[in-house]
C-alpha cells in the first residue's frame, strides 16, 4: 500500500515538525521520520530530496504552515518546523442555537468547490469539540454553482490573480477574449456574476458566468489584484442589471389578472367595469415592455408613449408575422438538412 505508507510518512512528518522548537535540517528530518530511506549513495540521497520536496508541497497545499528558518545566525543550512500557534485552530465554542445556525449554513452550498470546503471545515470544527446538529427538518436552502467557470473565477478572486477568458455578449456574433482583474463573485437571482476591472476596456464590468465560454486562465502573479476600498459588489451587479426605477408607467389591467405586475404597483384606481389602472415604476422601457406584452390583452400601457410603442411594436411583429415566420422556418429547415447531410 504505497498510498498508506505515504500518508503514514506525512503524518509522522507533521508530528515531528509540530514537536520541535528548533528548526530541523533535511538530514535531521530524514533521520527522525520513517519512510525516507537511509541509503548513503548519491542516487538515494537525490531520491530522498525529491520525495521531501513533494511532501513539503503537499503539506502546504493542505494549509499546514511549514516554517523555514535558521536556529542562529551561524547556521548556513536552513531548517523546518511547524509552530503550534500558526497550526492550531483557535478555541471556538458555540451555543446550541449558534451550532444550529452553523448546521443550516453548512447545507447551503450544493456544488463544488464550496460544498467540499464546507465538509472539511465541519470536520475541523467537530474536532474542536463542536457538534453541529443534523439540522432542523424541512428547511433546505441551497445555492448551486453549475456554471463551469465558477471554480476558476472563484480561485482567481481568492488568489487576486488576473484572469483571461472568452465571453459571449448578447447581440454579438462570436465570443470575445477578455482580460480582467477579478474583484468578486456574486450570486443574484440564482445566477453567478463576476465583478471585475476589464483591462482592455479600462472599466469596471459585470460578467455573467454562464456566458463565459471555454477555460478561464489565470495570468501573472497572485495577489496582484487590488480592489478599491468601498466597492459594493452586490450593488454593482444590481446596477448592471439596470433595476433601479427611473420612470412610472400607467397601465390598464383587467381585474383579477396580472398579479405579478400589480405587486410592484405604487397606486391602483378602478377604470370602468372589470378594469383598473395601476402605476408601475420601471427603469428600462424595453424591458418593461417585455414584461407587459407577456400579459397580452389583459394589460394595456397608457403612458409613457415610448413604453406604449414598445409593446405595440412587439405585438405587431407577432400579429403580422405569417409571411416572415415562414421564411424563418424555411431557413432553419435548410440548415438542419445541411447539418444532416454533413453528419
Amino acid at each position: 500500500m504505497v498510498a498508506a505508507k505515504k500518508t503514514e510518512r506525512l503524518l509522522n512528518l507533521v508530528i515531528c515538525l509540530l514537536a520541535t522548537r528548533r528548526y530541523l535540517t533535511v538530514q535531521q528530518i530524514r533521520e527522525a521520520v520513517p519512510g525516507y530511506g537511509s541509503g548513503e549513495g548519491a542516487a538515494e540521497e537525490e531520491a530522498f530530496r525529491r520525495m521531501f520536496e513533494r511532501d513539503k508541497e503537499e503539506l502546504r497545499d493542505l494549509g499546514i504552515p511549514l516554517e523555514t528558518g535558521s536556529n542562529s545566525g551561524w547556521d548556513d543550512e536552513p531548517g523546518y518546523r511547524i509552530a503550534q500557534r500558526d497550526y492550531q485552530l483557535p478555541e471556538i465554542a458555540l451555543e446550541p442555537d449558534e451550532a444550529a445556525a452553523l448546521g443550516l449554513a453548512a447545507r447551503l452550498w450544493q456544488s463544488a468547490p464550496l460544498a467540499g470546503a464546507t465538509g472539511s471545515a465541519l470536520l475541523k470544527l467537530r474536532a474542536a469539540g463542536i457538534e453541529p446538529p443534523e439540522g432542523a427538518t424541512g428547511l433546505e436552502p441551497r445555492i448551486g454553482a453549475t456554471e463551469p467557470a465558477f471554480e476558476s473565477c472563484l480561485a482567481g478572486v481568492v488568489q487576486g490573480q488576473v484572469l483571461r477568458f472568452d465571453y459571449r455578449t448578447a447581440g454579438r456574433p462570436a465570443p470575445e477574449s477578455r482580460q480582467v482583474e477579478p474583484w468578486g463573485v456574486v450570486s443574484w437571482h440564482g445566477r453567478w456574476y463576476l465583478v471585475a476591472h476589464d483591462l482592455t476596456r479600462q472599466a469596471t464590468r459585470v460578467f455573467r458566468l454562464s456566458r463565459i465560454t471555454g477555460p478561464v486562465t489565470p495570468e501573472g502573479m497572485t495577489g496582484a489584484v487590488v480592489i478599491p476600498d468601498g466597492s459594493d459588489l452586490r450593488a454593482m451587479v444590481v446596477e448592471s442589471a439596470g433595476d433601479t426605477p427611473t420612470t412610472t408607467a400607467r397601465v390598464r389591467v383587467r381585474t383579477g389578472s396580472c398579479w405579478e405586475l400589480r405587486r410592484t404597483a405604487t397606486a391602483t384606481a378602478p377604470d370602468g367595469a372589470g378594469w383598473e389602472v395601476v402605476e408601475l415604476p420601471y427603469s428600462d422601457h424595453r424591458r418593461f415592455a417585455d414584461r407587459v406584452a407577456g400579459y397580452g390583452a389583459d394589460a394595456v400601457v397608457l403612458s409613457p408613449d415610448e413604453a406604449r410603442l414598445s409593446v405595440v411594436r412587439r405585438l405587431t411583429a407577432l400579429a403580422e408575422e405569417t409571411a416572415t415566420e415562414k421564411t424563418g422556418t424555411e431557413k432553419v429547415a435548410t440548415e438542419k438538412t445541411t447539418a444532416e447531410e454533413t453528419a
Binding site: L102, A128, L139, P141, W183, R191, E260, A319, E321
Partner: protein, 317 residues
Amino acid sequence: MSGPLEELPRLLALVPYLLTRPGIAFATAAADFGITEDRLRKDLNLLWVCGLPGHYPGDLIEIDFEGDTITLSDPQGVVRPLRLSVDEALALVVALRTLAETPGLADPEPVLRALAKVEAAAGTAAAPADRVAVALEGEGTVLPVVREALARQKVLRLVYWTAGRDETTERDVDPVRLLVVEGSSYLEGWCRRAEGMRVFHLGRVQELEILDEDAAPPRDAPSRDLSQGLFQPAPGDTVVRLALEPGAAWVADFYPCDAVEELGDGRQVVTLRTSGTAWIRRLALSLGASGRVLEPAWLAQRVREDARSALAGYADR
C-alpha cells in the same frame, strides 16, 4: 477515492476529535466523518503506528478499544485541529452571512453570533470571504409563517397566484419542506386542492395563514429530487422550438433547454419542454420580433391570435 491529500486532513482532525470524546462509539465517529466503520478501523490502525521521532511505544499515538468504543489517550502533540483554510473559511462565512442577510430565512441573531465566532477563529483566512456575496429572495413576511407552520406541523392556507394561467386560487397545503433553489424560496407540500405534491414559489403567495389543523401529508407522497434543478421534464410535456434573435439569447440562459442550435450571427433555435404552454405564450408575446415559436404550429397560431387581441386594446385609444 483515497490518497494522502484526502486522508491526511481526516487523520489530523480525527486525533483531536477522539481526544475530546473518550469512549466514543465506532458508529458515531464513522458517521461524523462520513466514512464507513471499516475505513475508520484502517485509519486507527494507521494512527497508532505514528508518533514522535524514535517511535518507541511511549512515542506513539495511543488508542484503546473497548467493545465498540474508542479512547485516544496520547495525541503526541496533535491536540487541536488545523486552522481553517481560505476556502473553508469562505464557505462557512459566506453561507452564514447569506442566512443573516436573507429576510425571514433564519433568526438572524444566533446566526450573527455564530458568524462572529467563526470569523474570529478563522482569522486572516476569512478575509477573501468579502469578495463573495449571495443575494437570495427571502420573502420576509411569508417565510417566517411558513417556517412556523413547518415547525408546528400545521396546515397552511395560501392565496396563490399561478403565473402560467395568471389566476389566483386559495389552497390548503400540508407543508413538507422549505426550499431555496436558484435564488428563490419555495414551499413544497401536499396541495389538498390538486391532491398532489406541489412546489409553491413564495414570491407568488398573496396571503397565508396557519390553520389549527395538524399537517398530514400522505406518507408515500414523492418529494422532488432537486439535484437536477427544480423543473424537470415529464413524459407528457409539449416540445416547443423557439427561434431566437441575438437580443433574446438570455432565454437559453434562463430556461432549461433540451437543445440549443447555434445558427450563426448569435441567432439560436432552442428546444424546451413544458407541461403547460401558457407561460410559453407569454414568453413569445414578450419577445415580440426577437423570438418566434417554430413548433408546434398550433402554438404559433395561438401566439398570433393573442397578439392580435392584445393590439385591439391599443386601437381603442
